[in-house]
């Protein structure tokens, strides 16, 4: 699932830490980009770029937690691995609550970081894949008439045609026509596939 265009962003004001981590990423065949502050990262990052973020919690200027808030606010779902030299537990809890993937205390085992970065990249790829599927479904979904959507959701919900006809005050025949149209518009080859699409849409 990992793609070759993923980038590991390393944001740490400490030159040595930043550089050493970049080299570590490189050594396991990953692309890495080091950035000395949160601001630099914000300026450099394109949300379309897949990858993950290794972020120092305490930094002059904008701190790691502030950057996390900012990304959440901007709906950028880049997986974050926090690293800190302070071993500051309340801060770690706060970061994890806000959706950080991991929290590593310096000095950490390199393999631990590498594992977590690998995992984050995979997660990012999955997220990005799921996001692209949902976009397709949603594009199909908007082509349905309200009636067709109503019928589809009730079908996915497992209601029989007759029950739907009664609820929506239409004939069974009409229900079947809406169902056929919806399956056609959504590109579902079977009823089961349609049901899964509805579940995905509601879930993602």
């Amino acid at each position: 699932m990992l793609s070759s265009n993923q980038i590991v962003y390393i944001v740490d004001d400490d030159d040595a830490v930043r550089k050493s981590l970049c080299l570590l990423m490189k050594s396991v065949g990953l692309l890495a980009q080091g950035l000395a502050s949160a601001q630099e990262f914000l300026e450099a990052y394109d949300r379309a770029q897949p990858g993950c973020l290794v972020l120092d919690i305490r930094m002059p200027g904008m701190s790691g937690l502030e950057l996390q808030d900012r990304l959440v606010a901007e709906r950028i779902e880049l997986p974050i691995i926090f690293i800190t030299g302070h071993g500051d537990v309340p801060m770690a809890v706060q970061a994890l609550h806000k959706g950080a993937m991991e929290f590593l205390e310096k000095p950490f085992r390199d393999q631990d970081l590498i594992d977590r970065v690998q995992f984050a990249l995979q997660r990012d790829a999955e997220q990005r894949h799921a996001a692209s599927l949902r976009e397709i479904l949603e594009a199909k979904l908007v082509t349905l008439t309200p009636r067709e959507r109503e019928v589809m959701e009730r079908v996915a919900d497992g209601q029989a045609n007759k029950a739907i006809a009664i609820d929506l005050d239409m004939s069974s025949r009409t229900v079947e026509i809406h169902r056929a149209r919806a399956m056609e518009k959504m590109g579902a080859r079977s009823l089961a596939e349609l049901v899964r699409m509805v579940v995905d849409i509601n879930h993602v």
Partner: protein, 890 residues
């Protein structure tokens, strides 16, 4: 205890009181002259003493007087001449003195002979109370009494000095001297030993010694044993010389007798010195033994101390004269008054003679009056003039006596006062007429009064002196009944067969009072020193302890006996000895009059004593330093207390540093973790790169270089911490305050929060160094910087700013100011800010500023704060530059 023995000049029956006073005056004048002569620095009179033989112990007293300086003290420069000339001939003392080549000579019976031959000589003192003349017989010869001489071959030099004594002995035994046939006599004893003769004449102080050298013991016979009491060696001079120089003569005799006294008391010393230093005209094989041998004989001849040295009995000289006359050696009678020296009598006698002459002249004039009328008037006028002159002299002398400071009282043999002077009246409170004619006992308090009679009687009977010629302190009784101390010296004199005693009396009440006071002061001083709370020690200039008081003993734990056998340096802390020595040098060389220094002593139990020591010198009469007075104040307790205080403060400071480090732990951990994380990552990366082969040497080299730098970075952090967490040794070293500030900022930045705060420095260059405990001062500065940061917590990070300034404050101090731009201090905070456990923070103990203040104060500095004009507070620390007094007690 001696009583007052007052004495006198003469019996008043034969001479008028006025003349008695005159005589007294002469003596007084002579005494005064003597005192003047005795003063050093005056010109010495050169005189010669002609001995009667070679240098030997026979003349020991004169050498002793010379060597002991008695002559010099008497104003005399005496040339003591041997009788043996350089050419080996013998010089006659009689001849030398008669011709005036020598002023004084040593002779015996020959003085009488010479006098008969027309040499007008006077005997001054008889040293040998008995003659050394003897007859000696060879061993085996029967020689037990003078009668044996009739049958023996006797070597004689008829009528020589020994022979006349032998003749007197024979006569006393009823033997006609001419019945003893004279055999030729030679020097030495060879003719005796070779049996040419059976008996030879000789002296007891040499012949037995010669015999002993030959291994024989001779049989001897002393004329003295047969009632022939000839004087032996006697001092003499020409009568003219004596008459014109009575006081010089008296001085010479006095000094010579003192010399004899010394020689007889130290015979070995003088004998050895004679043998070693005096050249012999007739050399001896073993001069030392000879002189030691003579010393014994000479002592016996002087009959000292049975008879006073130099004592002259005129009757004995008369008997000697008679013996010589019987031998036909001399004829006529002997005028003893001129022949025997009487220092007082001589002067008087000359006046008496003058008076007699005058009377004769007057008588003649009366007779001639009828014949030559014109001369009468002239003669009367002459007589009147001469008499007036005499009266004038008497008046003058009387004036001297009366104005004498010392009381002068004369008494007769019965102790009856004959005359007194004005001073005596004043001393005793009696008018002269109240004393004259009364017993001198009236002036003596009981019980001495009763004893006095006993002394006087005893002396008159036995000649044993208690006070005459000695002088001592006794007690006197005034008319008003008070008893007082007085110094008394008594002179005895025989005038016309009557003994008189003159007492010189000095009231020493005042002197006693002074001595009493001196004693009291001495006692006060001694008590004061002994009981003084400070240690007091006297030492010699080279530090030997002469005395130490109780306080000093208890300071150092040694007893007085232990200290007094020791050197002060023995108990001084080795490294402090040099200071003490240089202090002493400053005192001795006059650069300082007193020295105040710190010395550490080693207590007997081995502990160290800290003392404040004051040194000063005492000086002798000549102004040279003589002893050192050392006073020591024990400051051990004080110093120990200060040291404990300092240790306590250091512990507190250490705790505070640890506490600060605790507060900074997170920041510190970060500062160490950062490089560690980097190192770890680099290491892993390099390993993987190498394994994968996707790398190059340059990349790896860069990485490893970074690894090295990070190791150093971690090390630097640890170094900074190490100073802060270790216990201070309290050592002060000269430190550049600016460096300290820079280091402190580095330390403050360990707490990572602070990296966000701007710290500005304005450091003045060329500040003097300060002698401080660098860790402690850094602790103070760190406290201030951290406080400043805390004070600005509520401000946006960008506005947080700390400024640290260093500057010179006054001529000697260096100041560090730490300014924040916080909200400033509230009144309550201002009041309590330096109090322990006062804090406005959630963390920390509230000890920071309290401990900082203690540290700064202990460095002799000051810490205070001021409000900034715009906003915030500035804390100031000033520290004196230069060397601190490590003993300073705050």
């Amino acid at each position: 205890m001696d009583s007052l023995l007052l004495v006198v000049l003469r019996s008043s029956s034969s001479l008028a009181t006025g003349r008695c006073r005159l005589r007294l005056g002469v003596r007084l004048v002579a005494g005064v002259l003597l005192v003047i002569w005795a003063m050093p620095g005056l010109a010495q009179e050169r005189i010669a003493l002609q001995l009667r033989w070679d240098h030997q112990f026979q003349f020991a007293g004169y050498y002793a007087a010379q060597w002991q300086g008695y002559y010099r003290q008497s104003g005399l420069d005496v040339d003591i001449r041997s009788a043996i000339t350089a050419s080996g001939t013998i010089r006659s003392a009689i001849q030398e003195v008669s011709e005036g080549s020598a002023e004084f000579g040593i002779g015996a019976a020959d003085i009488l002979v010479a006098r008969h031959d027309g040499h007008d000589l006077t005997v001054l003192a008889s040293i040998f109370q008995t003659s050394a003349a003897m007859l000696f017989a060879r061993p085996g010869v029967k020689f037990k009494n003078p009668a044996d001489l009739l049958t023996l071959r006797v070597a004689r030099r008829v009528n020589d000095l020994i022979d006349v004594e032998v003749q007197a002995m024979l006569r006393s035994e009823g033997i006609d001297p001419s019945a003893v046939k004279p055999f030729p006599h030679q020097a030495g004893i060879e003719h005796l030993l070779s049996k040419q003769v059976d008996v030879i004449p000789g002296y007891s102080i040499s012949i037995p010694f010669l015999a002993d050298r030959h291994g024989v013991i001779l049989t001897g016979l002393r004329p003295a044993a047969y009632g022939v009491d000839f004087y032996g060696d006697s001092l003499f001079a020409s009568a003219d010389f004596v008459n014109s120089n009575p006081e010089l003569t008296a001085r010479f005799v006095d000094a010579s007798l003192r010399g004899w006294e010394y020689a007889l008391a130290h015979p070995e010393e003088i004998a050895a010195r004679i043998a070693k230093t005096l050249p012999r005209g007739r050399p001896l094989k073993d001069p030392l033994e000879f002189n030691l041998y003579q010393a014994n004989g000479v002592k016996a001849l002087t009959m000292h101390p049975l008879i006073d040295l130099g004592h002259v009995n005129p009757d004995r000289w008369r008997r000697m004269h008679d013996s010589l006359a019987q031998a036909g050696v001399v004829s006529g009678s002997l005028d003893l008054s001129r022949f025997i020296f009487d220092p007082v009598g001589d002067v008087m006698r000359s006046r008496q003679q003058l008076r007699q002459v005058l009377i004769g002249v007057v008588a003649g004039g009366m007779l001639l009056l009828f014949a030559i009328a014109g001369w009468v008037w002239l003669l009367r006028r002459n007589v009147l003039t001469a008499t007036k002159a005499l009266q004038h002299n008497e008046t003058r002398l009387r004036a001297i006596v009366d104005t004498a400071v010392e009381g002068i009282i004369t008494i007769d043999e019965q102790g009856t006062v004959e005359s007194t002077n004005a001073a005596a009246e004043k001393i005793f409170g009696y008018a002269s007429h109240e004393m004259v004619g009364q017993s001198v006992n009236m002036l003596i308090p009981s019980p001495y009064r009763e004893e006095h009679d006993g002394y006087l009687t005893n002396y008159l009977e036995t000649g044993i002196r208690k006070i005459i010629g000695i002088g001592r302190e006794v007690q006197g009784l005034r008319k008003d009944g008070t008893i007082f101390p007085l110094e008394l010296s008594v002179a005895e004199m025989t005038v016309e067969g009557k003994r008189q005693f003159t007492g010189l009396v000095r009231d020493v009440t005042e002197r006693h009072a002074l001595q009493q006071e001196l004693r009291a002061r001495q006692e006060t001083l001694t008590l004061t020193i002994e009981n003084a709370p400070v240690g007091i020690v006297t030492t010699t200039l080279d530090g030997r302890i002469i005395s130490a008081n109780q306080a000093f003993c208890s300071i150092v734990g040694f007893s007085q006996a232990e200290l007094e056998a020791s050197l002060i340096r023995n108990i001084t802390y080795p490294s402090d000895i040099r200071d003490g020595v240089s202090g002493m040098r400053d005192l001795i060389e006059g650069r300082q009059t007193s020295i105040n220094l710190r010395q550490r002593y080693i207590h007997k139990d081995g502990s160290t004593i800290f003392a404040q020591v004051y040194l000063a010198l005492t000086h002798d009469a000549a102004g040279s330093p003589s002893t050192c007075i050392l006073q020591a104040v024990d400051r051990t307790q004080e110093i120990n207390r200060v040291q404990e205080l300092r240790q306590h403060r250091e512990r507190m400071a250490h705790v505070d540093r640890l506490s600060t480090m605790g507060e900074m732990a997170a920041g510190i951990a970060h500062e160490i973790n950062q490089p560690l994380a980097a190192i770890s990552a680099y290491a892993q990366a390099c390993q993987r790169l190498i394994q994968s082969g996707r790398t190059n040497a340059g990349e790896l080299q860069d990485a490893l270089q970074d690894v090295g730098a990070q190791v150093e970075r971690a090390g630097e952090v640890i170094r900074r911490l190490r100073g802060m967490v270790k216990k201070g040794a309290g050592q002060r070293v000269l430190t550049d305050i600016n460096e300290l500030v820079t280091e402190t900022i580095a330390l403050a930045r360990l707490d990572r929060r602070e990296q966000e705060i701007q710290i500005h420095t304005e450091l003045e260059s060329d500040l003097p160094s300060v002698e401080v405990d660098a860790i402690q001062i850094q602790q103070v500065l760190l406290n201030l910087v951290r406080n400043a940061m805390d004070a600005m917590q509520d401000l946006p990070v960008a506005e947080q700013r700390v400024t640290i300034r260093t500057s010179r404050r006054g001529p000697d101090d260096v100041e560090v100011a730490v300014a924040d731009c916080g909200a400033g201090l509230s009144g309550e905070v201002e009041k309590n800010i330096f109090r322990p456990f006062f804090t406005t923070k959630n963390t920390g103990m509230g000890m920071g500023l309290s401990i900082s203040q203690s540290i700064v104060n202990n460095h002799g500095g000051r810490i205070w704060f001021t409000g900034n004009r715009d906003q915030g507070t500035t804390f100031h620390v000033s520290i004196p530059s230069g060397i601190m007094d490590i003993y300073a007690v705050e």
